[in-house]
Symmetry: C2
Subunit: 380 residues, 2 copies
Amino acid sequence: MQVMKLDQLETPCLLLDESRLERNVARMRAHLDSLGVNLRLHVKTAKSIDVVRRVLRSPQDPITVSTLKEAEYFLANGVQNILYAVGMTPNKLEHVTDLRRRGAGLALILDSVEAAHAVAAHARSRADRIPVLIEIDCDGHRSGMLPGDPALIEAGRVLADGGCELRGVMTHAGGSYNCTTVAAIKAMALQERDAVLNAAKALRTAELPCPVVSVGSTPTATCAGNLTGVTEVRAGVFVFFDLVMAGLQVCTLDDIALSVLASVIGHQREKGWIIVDAGWMAMSRDRGSAKQKIDQGYGLVCNAQGEPYPDLIMTDANQEHGVIALRQGARAALPDLPLGTLLRILPNHACATGAQHQAYQVVREGSDTVGATWPRFAGW
Amino acid sequence: MQVMKLDQLETPCLLLDESRLERNVARMRAHLDSLGVNLRLHVKTAKSIDVVRRVLRSPQDPITVSTLKEAEYFLANGVQNILYAVGMTPNKLEHVTDLRRRGAGLALILDSVEAAHAVAAHARSRADRIPVLIEIDCDGHRSGMLPGDPALIEAGRVLADGGCELRGVMTHAGGSYNCTTVAAIKAMALQERDAVLNAAKALRTAELPCPVVSVGSTPTATCAGNLTGVTEVRAGVFVFFDLVMAGLQVCTLDDIALSVLASVIGHQREKGWIIVDAGWMAMSRDRGSAKQKIDQGYGLVCNAQGEPYPDLIMTDANQEHGVIALRQGARAALPDLPLGTLLRILPNHACATGAQHQAYQVVREGSDTVGATWPRFAGW
């Protein structure tokens, strides 16, 4: 491959700092090893085999997917141990069976007796003992059955007796994204663990199998201090981190491995605006930091080397235009950034910003050489 | 092609109602014909030759693009008269020249003397008389030079004397998206027209050429009553319309041609929530209606035939999960939507929601047959 420098890239494009990626992965691995639990990487953040290969220790390692297209892609790339962690709907069951016939060790989740009946009926009709985890609600933020709900036992029995493999329980503490202190995230990690342990206990007391006890979110995974009884942790954002995670104190700005490379295309000097060629199409419309203590707008602006400018953020975005300005109350002066200046813009949400791009331009910390281009995919 | 029914599609996916598309195009064509101005379709909304062929009267018709990738794609599909309507930055100029050598009648925009010098220097060095429009600021919302700014004349002279073709002036009344009445949009259309007419007059008074006078936004294009002196209108959203446009009274809900087909995957009955398999990845994070009189959440929910349920919206969204609930203050009851129920969800912003998908599933009003699948592209 021809060696490219950052300033030879056409903007906007997505930069991935491989040095930071490696550090983020090593840190999470060491943490989960010390807690004695497996990582079932959530690949919805990266959607790239090149990234995922740098996280998995072997192709036999387990992953979590959010779409069947992710399952297709990673199966084609040799990863077979896959959990599809979105509630099942009948119009996807034939696709599931097809994936399983082609070698995917694909497991499903569901959170109702109604869904258990639908999946069991399909499993019987296809003579395919589909593995299923029951989703548990640990924080009231989205889906799942309550650990003490009698319907949990009923759903488990429908599955175990109805032609599926009842594999266990799983939950996701999405509420952790709304915590404001590390202490609150630690408490949420305990709450997440206890909800799923209680559900496992209920199933086992009813003499139903429950070998897998699965939890997961990047904040709780990072802050958890004791996961006794949990068999696996699902997390994905930690590979890149982002401004929302930094706002939660789950990482520092120096850990954020993903950024959008943009060029200055104009100025509205009397307003203190710098206009760049990265708008919401490149950054996404995600404004996740808006509800945090520090609102980062559509992103925090760094120079081409990745060093943040004090208080310089993308305050507004149109489709292919971003407005860069100082945040309200900033004491720093607006930097002089002439036409054509390259900037790196750190994203609110790695999953959302990544999804707007078709490839990662891979760089290492302190270098302006693009070492590789890693494709990523999208869609369903 | 095998004939597919809506209920054979795997969800989520993007539906395009071709009957509504045709009506929207015919209405805008008739309106602009009555005003005596040309349409330079903005293709950033559709990003699909199949859609654009249903708008253009011939391949010689002009288009507007927001990325050079759009220019590449439409050139490859036989459309040559292209305006790239984002301010130019030096790292794209070589690509521009390459496109022009391959037959694109590609014109650029810029809004500073600095940029004029950069483009003119490139034009001279490549012996390529690049056509350039100067961007005018008509409403203070983003980019552009003020019509009375002496630097406008200077930039024009740098271009005309420096090796470019000074083609005229253009503006975009993005501020029209923040109007609250049709009267305000009509006033904005006049303001948009007058800004660019004043700029054209200033250039012509300085004996500089200004054959093209270009305006554009879907709200102002729809509501404009007199565009005397304007030579072309740029608009794109009108082909599909969306909830933000309905909130502006620029269209009705029945005009919205784009929706996301989703399936019910669960219920949280005590909370009044229905969970679907379309989250922000399928809808986008765009919350454009949040600042309007009626906040539509992440989208307005319709049945599989496209009829809205009263007050039923997507109140929250995760990556692949949407939470459907009644809006606050709703008098309607939550409909009973069992697991697997298909829903169409109307988007806040057609450009943003479309960008999350790789194809349109094309249906006609009143039919549940998928008549065609039209690919769309993304990226830069």
